[in-house]
Chain length 343, copies 2
DNA sequence: TTAACGGCTGCATACGTATGTTTTTTGATT
DNA sequence: AATCAAAAAACATACGTATGCAGCCGTTAA
């Protein structure tokens, strides 16, 4: 016999007051007498009373919940989720609880119809969209969301004139900084793995930074040293294999992410190359593992902590209809051993 | 002017029927005429109607939501979440959506009062508890949950006679298998990093497997080769430094997790040792990164996919009050280069 | 003495759905 | 044409909370 949950009526009965007074007392309304409130709160504690969220949400028309939609192609047997998102998730969930919001997390395949299942059902007050991926695939959906008045914020490349709020790292500058660093170390034949094909705006921005650095140094971007790769170790391995098979020579690789870089180092080592003596390899993201990789990875740090906070705060601002602003998260060069010393 | 959301009354009005018929039609009740149902569903689609979850939950007394509580000490500026959990999270979220449940995710510090905030508020029908950590810290809380009739399932060491449902990997066998593997390769002075102090039952089980393998081989467990470590790279680095400083010699290290192992390899390399020639290093978990670490890590695979599924399915069974069963997830040895070849 | 007022509290209602109960409709049988 | 059962739809209500509004009481001012 599980004793059924206590309601505000139960408390009202014991306190000899009305339910409305209980509700007011528990929400610390100034309308209720100090003494009465103390008494009510004591009884609530005693009965282990908790506000029923469903009833409360129904009455107030908001849920106090944010939805985090993470877009990634997951295969059925394994869960390869980019640790970068895990880090974001940590920051997002922490900021949410600091602000009194709950977080509903859902991993979405690109194909599913996710556009309305969270906001329209009143399960969430707003949505955070996370995930690289083919921009064009969901641009239409985002417009739908805007049209419906759904509040959302998106992690990703900031494009001028978009009708929605995007928050992203300064990817171009990151790509620029790290490539310039390699150039300053004397590397000249610098390959690029990942994102040169403009499917993922984030990775493409990094590529543009890479190009800018090379052109600025008076050299030409060598198109034969560029291979596409998604953000996984396996893609890094494969891209290096293709690069090696092409027969072109190179003394450095800029990878569009740390995972690609780790795969690249693995494949290079396998093929008998020494990193960084033969080939310097750099990444992007500064995952925790970058520091402990062998050799430790020179990379670009995205401040996931700040990023997560900014996403949540801006979404909340949007929900509360106060002033919002698009923000760039700065990129910061982290130098470790994987690019060696000056030649 | 955002047009307010359509309700079942709006549909009823347009269809010329009552609200209750609409509700029944949309839930595919057999009580409603085929033709009427078609009509109602068409109108619902047209109006882009979605059931209000809060109202629905209030009425039905269940939320269709599971809560995932992840316990980990997070520091304020960085989010070091074990990738192992990310992998679990992936599997859990996928299984949830397959079963039609939403997932509420919350990272909890050990200290906060989490025990009732999800079930008692009717935000979730059940709770999944994830996280290593000091067992004794929350044993009291778990008993509270049981007493309140809260449905939950816990990832972790399965202890006979517990009044709650735990699902865990066969950690002892994993520790046994991998240690025996090292012994079979001729390693004799095998250190152990992490968990020998019985604070974390999972890690301690791995330690017991390690002891069993050594004793079975006719050797003695050398207590001077054992250092405690939490599941992070940094702890691995530090433990190796202490081990080296102690002056004792060793030719292999069993690490209680891959992250510890990665930290250990990093520290050993830094100190001028070659892995695996001087020292073999093995881990536990088979994180994605284990395959691409340098050298690739011999480790014990926990099937996170199966684990996540089992957690969710068993929790749902518990909610639906059908038969449940405690399950061990098997441990599997994965051999890679970090323990070298036979000496 | 009366009116006005502020501080508290209670009353009544609405949020949107799901479902037990009752009523109406339909179709078949006598 | 009358009866009846089954099918279909309508009616009524409850879930638990939050809140506009009205009412009461004690105090102060006119």
């Amino acid at each position: 016999m599980s004793k059924s949950k206590a309601t505000s009526f139960d408390i009202a009965y014991r306190a000899g007051v009305s339910q409305s007074t209980v509700s007011r007392a528990l929400r610390n309304s100034p309308q209720v007498n100090e003494e009465t409130r103390k008494k009510i709160q004591a009884i609530a504690r005693e009965l282990n009373y908790k506000v029923d969220k469903n009833a409360s949400n129904l009455r107030t028309r908001h849920s106090g919940t944010l939805a985090l939609l993470l877009f990634e192609e997951l295969d059925d047997t394994e869960s390869h989720i980019n640790p970068f998102y895990l880090s974001m998730l940590g920051s997002i969930t922490r900021t949410c609880s600091k602000e009194g919001y709950d977080l509903l997390v859902s991993f979405q395949q690109f194909s599913t119809d996710w556009s309305a299942d969270f906001a329209d059902t009143n399960k969430a007050d707003g949505i955070i969209l996370l995930g690289y991926g083919d921009y064009l695939d969901y641009e239409g959906k985002l417009n739908e969301l805007v049209e419906q008045g759904t509040k959302f914020v998106r992690w990703g490349a900031v494009v001028e004139g978009e009708p929605w709020l995007s928050i992203g790292c300064d990817n171009k500058n990151g790509g620029y900084l790290i490539t310039r660093h390699l150039l300053s170390l004397g590397r000249r034949s610098i390959a690029f793995l990942g994102g040169a094909d403009n499917h993922s705006p984030e990775l493409y921005e990094r590529y543009k930074g890479y190009c800018k650095a090379i052109e600025e140094s008076g050299h030409y971007v060598d198109l034969s040293l560029q291979y596409d790769a998604v953000t996984t170790e396996a893609a890094g391995v494969e891209a290096v294999q293709r690069l090696l098979a092409s027969g072109h020579t190179f003394d450095a690789i800029v990878c569009a992410s740390d995972l690609i870089a780790i795969g690249a180092i693995s494949a290079l080592t396998e093929a008998g190359f020494n990193v960084p003596n033969d080939v310097a390899v750099v990444g992007f993201d500064d995952l925790t593992v970058a520091k402990y990789s062998n050799p430790p990875l020179t990379t670009v740090q995205q401040n996931t902590n700040l990023a997560g906070q900014t996403l949540v705060y801006n979404l909340i601002k949007q929900i509360e209809e106060t002033e919002i602003e698009t923000r760039h998260i700065p990129a910061r060069l982290i130098v470790r051993e994987s690019c060696g010393a000056k030649l």
